[in-house]
């Protein structure tokens, strides 16, 4: 089930369709299985498509570096 969700989102930009152009396509993901991703600071594993509130982590300096690189 997870892989189907991932496929739908990555291929069709499901979440980002309204905000993000579907400029990233990766057909090989069609047959993938779920990859468990767990951050030490989080209490639960990452659910595919989860929206993380990391705002406190984005310092202006880091964001500037990111936008310029």
């Amino acid at each position: 089930m997870s892989s189907k969700i991932i496929t739908a989102v990555l291929l069709l930009s499901g979440f980002g369709a309204a905000q993000t152009p579907p400029d990233f396509e990766f057909p090989s993901i069609v047959s993938t299985t779920h990859l468990n991703v767990s951050y030490p600071a989080f209490t639960t594993d990452i659910v595919p498509g989860q929206l993380l509130d990391l705002a406190s982590e984005f310092s202006p300096i880091e964001s500037l570096q990111y936008s310029n690189k």
Binding site: T33, V37, L52, A55, F58, S63, N68
Partner: protein
């Protein structure tokens, strides 16, 4: 919440203990300063051995983990942070070293093809966004509106004065 330090990666599909894996994490929703799309590489690690979690201590980090840090954008939009696992050892074509080092301008499709990584065996992704510019731009917007009102009011006063002067001349 914090996306540092690097996450623990595991999956249930490991069938052969001798398999060597490669992990890639990227943001495909970044933008160049001119607004065109670009991919940003957040993590490229090879020589990962089968284990649960996958054994990273002895793995080779070609590009060490870099936590998400999308820039503030108007309108605010979420970026996808995608983790891809390949069941192949990592051999980096020399032509990709500049984009790997720069992180920006990475091309996952061509890299996977040219590095011979084959099919993705497991994947996940999450979203995050940076709303700080929206919050920061509230005040300047109000200031601009105030300035606009001031100019408008000043123009009205001037127009009124001219009108009065014109009336005075007519008198």
């Amino acid at each position: 919440m914090r996306a540092n330090p690097q996450p623990v990666i595991s999956f249930s599909g490991a069938s052969d203990s001798s398999t060597i894996y490669t992990l890639i994490m990227l943001d495909p929703d970044a933008r160049n300063p001119n607004g065109t799309a670009r991919q940003v590489l957040h993590w490229l690690q090879g020589n990962i051995t089968s284990a649960t979690p996958l054994s990273l201590p002895n793995a080779t980090a070609v590009a060490i983990y870099r936590a998400p840090g999308p820039p503030p954008e108007v309108p605010t939009r979420a970026h996808r942070y995608i983790q891809l696992l390949f069941a192949k050892p990592l051999v980096v074509p020399a032509s990709y070293l500049p984009s790997i080092q720069a992180r920006a301008g990475f091309n996952i499709e061509s890299f996977v093809r040219d590095a011979g990584l084959g099919e993705v065996v497991a994947a996940n992704y999450y979203l995050t966004r940076n709303d700080s510019r929206v919050a920061n731009e509230t005040k300047p917007l109000e200031t601009n509106m105030a300035n606009g009102l001031s100019v408008s009011m000043w123009g009205t006063i001037m127009a009124g004065s001219v009108g009065l002067l014109a009336c005075a001349g007519m008198l």
